[in-house]
Amino acid sequence: MTKKMHDTPMLDQLESGPWPSFVTGLKRLAKDKDMMVDLLGQLEYSYKTRLGYWKGGTASVIGYGGGVIPRFSEVADRFPESKEFHTLRIMPPPGMHYNTDILRKFCDIWEKHGSGLIALHGQSGDIMFQGCTTEKVQEAFDEINELGFDMGGAGPSVRTSMSCVGHARCEHSCYDEGRAHRSVLNNFTDDLHRPALPYKFKFKYSGCANDCMNSIQRSDMAIIGTWRDDIQVKQDEVKKFVKAKGRKYVIDNVVTRCPTQCLSLNDDDTLAIDNRNCVKCMHCINVMTKALSPGKDRGATILVGGKRTLKIGDLMGTVIVPFMKLESDEDFEKLVELGRNIIDFWAENGLEHERCGEMIERIGLANFLEGIGLDIDPAMLANPRTNPFIRMDDWDDEAAKWKARKTG
């Protein structure tokens, strides 16, 4: 309460400027919390020496194996009050909706048990309650948990998930992201709370190909909304748009930007769409939001294997289910089951510290699909193989399978 502030000449410089300053926030907390006085001291010290001073360790809550990120200071001799500075990862609701009531309750709990510093949100979507002593972790969690919030993921486990605002406010949304998010994640609470997988596994949900959740590249399993039928066109709105913006604008910004050249502006200012070749990229709909909408036969494309760079280079998720309906209870159960199959197969076949995408790279997509019981489909490929390096003496059997699928 009364500890003297350290000199923080470097951090002080971060109090100026138009963007909200976290330093000002930290200082405000430091008025009441010695922990924050020393935290500021340690941070200033990092700025000066250009090195970090946290190390890991153990901190957890009863019943769970993960979700607390333990931080112990390596410079506790200089800054003793912040020698422990753990973070609790707490799962947000889909779409990160809150009312002020719940946010105020979080503040109260964290003011009482923690540092008073909350990150909204972590890059994986967690509400991060940052800065807690080992002693207080359990109490803090208990109170948060009583509010209906549960621990997020950490370690080799299913991780906290994110879904876009989608159905709640976005006209592009092609499936109920919130429902998908909760259906899947709440079927994996055990794998989330008790890390026992080869490595982390992330699900992300985007309602359309704009992929506002970066799911293709930042999740092991991406669920991206799409549709199978024709784009819905309100030709009167098209005409209005053309009138307002001019034909040239529409041609330069809509028609010529279609990746598969399936748009054409008719002479009467209506739009012709070659829906057969539309790849549901969303661009034309993005530009003409009032005139165009996704079709009515909606669902999702599932991609697997996205992650960042270590250790074989970045991976994008790649298509494993071109289209999946997501409407009925059974549809959502199927989605859960798909996630389950993938995680089971990977848990069995992934090496230690090998993400699902890295495993697919190692064993090949065809083997992965066989392992999880999915049929291959040309939509999963940018192109078929360009090399002849494959033994295919049972080509005929494989060809017969395709024919059976096509006729059956």
Partner: protein
Amino acid sequence: MTQPRMPIESGVPDHFQYMHPVMRKNYGQWDWHERPRPGVLHHVAKSGDSVWTVRAGTQRQMDVYTIRKLCDIADQYAEGHVRFTIRSNIEFMVSDEKKVAPLIEALEKNGFPIGGTGNSVSMISHTQGWLHCDIPASDASGAVKSLMDELHHEFTHEEMPNRVRITTSCCQINCGGQGDIAINIQHTKPPKINHDLVANVCERPSVVARCPVAAIRPAMVNGKPSLEVDEKKCICCGACFPPCPPMQINDPEHSKFAIWVGGKNSNARSKPTFHKLVAAGIPNNPPRWPEVGAVVKKILRVYKEDARDWERIGEWVERIGWPRFFELTELPFTKYHVDSWRGARHSLNASAHIRF
């Protein structure tokens, strides 16, 4: 002693309980939207209902006073509901257009910038850095604050050809992901090994396995089991550091910043793409990292001038070509830009397509 409390394994909470009522009512039934001004979205539902959203920037790592202030504003000027975006912006929803202006005024008065929508530069994806992480070579909060100070105008105005999504990462692990512009730590020297600690702290076989280029060998040093690094092979990736802190990769001098452009997650028009290295060797210079800001602003200026509407940074460069990108931005092109990793051939110009 009392029974320990077991957690209620409730998982992901129900979002409807916190959702703005107009959004709840029109869930899955939205029709179209427009942006009346930067930072404001107007969504119209098929029912005819409207919701106006005001988006404001935050520092993400917020003290409870800041959060309570935002709640006060939400209660007084909005309708008590907020949401956060993937970029730590806060959104206030109101069902009446008239509430928009006072809300904006209140937010601005309290120092929250309004913007981040449409073709603006939104908030930078934020990681932990020195504030909390155990492996950072730089700070995230400070770097993001410094950059957003410099990009304030671009956040509050929609003047870019298309949206710009910047990411930062305070180590090469890159929790920040792909970005139109990515600002990432890049180590430039192999780890220095603190041999005294290895025996106690590291599981040696798993550290060896973690190295992408098999540069780490178990070795006896001063009679104790330790590790050694083949510095010719080492690509300075830092993958060995998290599992084995004595493999000190972070260095105040030699952990530099690198800047990448052209990452894109959306499928709009072009397929998603990874970001590509454009600048490196940039000093890690707290508290305001001016050299980083200078490069980012230079790239943004050129993009703003040269790109066509709707072209994301990567799409723009794809059209004008990399030689022109380096020419316009005046960034040096070096042999390090040439990929040397597996599959490098896919990044070479296997065509006679050249712009002069």
